[in-house]
Subunit: 340 residues, 2 copies
DNA sequence: TTGTACGCGTTATCAA
DNA sequence: TTGATAACGCGTACAA
């Protein structure tokens, strides 16, 4: 009841322990530099007062925040949620906090969020995908904030990345589709503008067709924002096209699930009449029936790796090394295996 | 190239514009208090230098961070991810940033995270569920950090909450199950220790049984951490019990999906042989087959409402008002409707 | 090993 | 309407 109304500061602790603020600070940050007996006294005082350091002050004094920012398109997609959770876990283990922002796939919002996070003094930044204006990277450089790109792997890019080969993986999957005998392929892609993962996946399909000697007319494309309902709508439209595709590849599992659902309500059998593929391997992919043939991406592994690499960059241990996380095709029931 | 290596400060802007730092600050925070002409000059300087305020400094000076902390059990569950996304959107709209931490359902970790976030100067805190030690609430009070509880509604509790009536909703669902003629009910609950939502749901089932005049022996309970696989395992165990339940209610949809999958691989027909219910109404619930009868919770609405209420508290407009978000049962195929 | 004293970038108070 | 200046709480040379 008679307690002070405001939080205790370093000063309060120092007085309580009968030492200087410098000593208290040292006790907390480099305990080795203070003798045992005083340290005990100080820690007791810390405990008694329930002292917690004021991080804003620490940021200013040390020019270091022990916080990392992450800007993702949306948390409301299992793949980002999962990767982010792993990212955060790893961060926490190393004593960092996470500031998240989401861009809703909108570049202007992302730019805004980047500025906000930098202003908040984050030590490093996790970004999704490489594609953004140069000025943003200039800005980060000016502010000396290390940035790491995830969900995409482009070793030659300006920023280091921890991700996977979207293009190659999708190409492999498309070859699998071709091998199953399909010659009319529909592709339901996420919006490619400002989303290099989506674009790379489209290119992957084109690669496969080109390698197999098929013309571009083999493929018909629809772009739509991610979402189950959008996938369903796109699939319905796809079924109207002429020639009608016998296989519909989707830019991610969410779209594929929508397609699958629409096929069902249209009375189109999968994979009998039309094959469907996804990308990501979210939990849903295994549960849905028919289960979804898709590309498995180890999101957790990527999140963890991204965190440790970014921290290495922040702490000056690395200049930013790109690593490619390997993916693999998970063959399930929505695409019949090639008959050979 | 000849550019300064460090980020511009208020001082730099002031010099560039030929005014004092105070004026620059005013331009940014209360533009009305500065005359048009000077403001223009200042803003031009801000633009030219690419100035972004240092928020740590602002926090110290203003004792206000415009950031809100949220501690959720995990992001890797669609319901929290969705609610959190909505929470963040609303926050952003009002000029606040979000600091997230996750507790993995572990009270000690949560306590730690709370201290961390408070130390970081968050203006307010979002917590999931009411159940935690008094000392934590004392701590928050001492530091004068308003806290709002979500995903749970208990108007009589110490902390205000924005959530729903877990107990009542589950009770309603259980009555539906009883009405369908089931007399042996299995309940697969999440871990109830430290999780009042889980506990309330169990109590809801008990309420329904009591009201209907059935003894406790009508129900058999298994507790397990959330997760599809855990749900599957629990279901398998449930099927060994004697008497074998004809309806298995699950603490959430994730468990229910696991149960459904296990039923399938066990060759048990749903709902013919065993009915299954969930809670939350995640997207999966509608997609899976048979589709899941469950309780629909408007997570997005809750997230948004929580954000605006918490901001009202932070800004002194509200002392913390609890609001109950209404839920409703979504009747699908995993439970046959009562025959009347 | 410990203490003194300054600076970090901003806001707010008070005068001008 | 604007400017000078004192906080804000901490880390860290530097000195003792």
């Amino acid at each position: 009841m008679g307690k002070s109304r405001t939080a205790p500061t370093l000063n309060d602790v120092a007085k309580e322990a009968g030492v200087s603020t410098a000593t208290v600070s040292r006790c907390l940050n480099s305990p080795a530099r203070v003798v045992d007996e005083t340290r005990k006294r100080v820690l007791k005082a810390v405990d008694k007062l329930g002292y917690t350091p004021n991080i804003a002050a620490r940021i200013m004094a040390a020019n270091r925040s022990y916080s990392i920012g992450a800007i993702i398109p949306t948390m409301d997609n299992a793949i980002f949620a999962r990767g982010l959770q792993a990212f955060q876990d790893q961060l926490r283990e190393k004593g960092y906090s996470l500031l998240v922002a989401s861009s809703a796939y909108r570049p202007e919002i992302e730019k805004d969020q980047i500025r906000t996070l930098v202003a908040r003094g984050v030590d490093g930044l996790l970004l999704i995908g490489h594609e953004r204006k140069h000025e943003i990277y200039d800005y980060l450089e000016q502010h000396q904030v290390p940035a790491l790109v995830a969900w995409s792997y482009m070793p030659e890019a300006r920023q280091p990345s921890v991700g996977f080969d979207n293009r190659g993986a999708m190409c492999d999957l498309a070859r699998r589709v071709l091998a199953a005998g399909h010659r009319h392929i529909g592709l339901i892609s996420g919006v490619t503008e400002g989303n290099d993962r989506a674009l790379s996946r489209v290119e992957g399909v084109r690669d496969a067709l080109a390698k197999a000697g098929h013309g571009a007319e083999t493929m018909t494309l629809i772009e739509t924002p991610y979402g189950i309902d959008n996938g369903a709508r796109a699939f319905a439209e796809m079924m109207q096209r002429n020639p009608r595709p016998t296989a519909v590849m989707c830019g991610n599992d969410v779209l594929a699930v929508g397609a699958l659902r629409e096929a069902q309500s249209l009375g189109i059998s999968v994979p009998g009449e039309v094959a469907i593929t996804g990308f990501d391997d979210i939990e849903l992919a295994e549960i849905i029936s028919p289960s979804l043939t898709t590309v498995h991406v180890p999101h957790r592994e990527m999140g963890r790796k991204a965190a440790s690499e970014l921290i290495d960059m922040v702490e000056g241990r690395s200049a930013g090394q790109s690593t490619c996380i390997s993916t693999h095709i998970v063959s399930r029931h929505s695409l019949v295996a090639p008959k050979n």
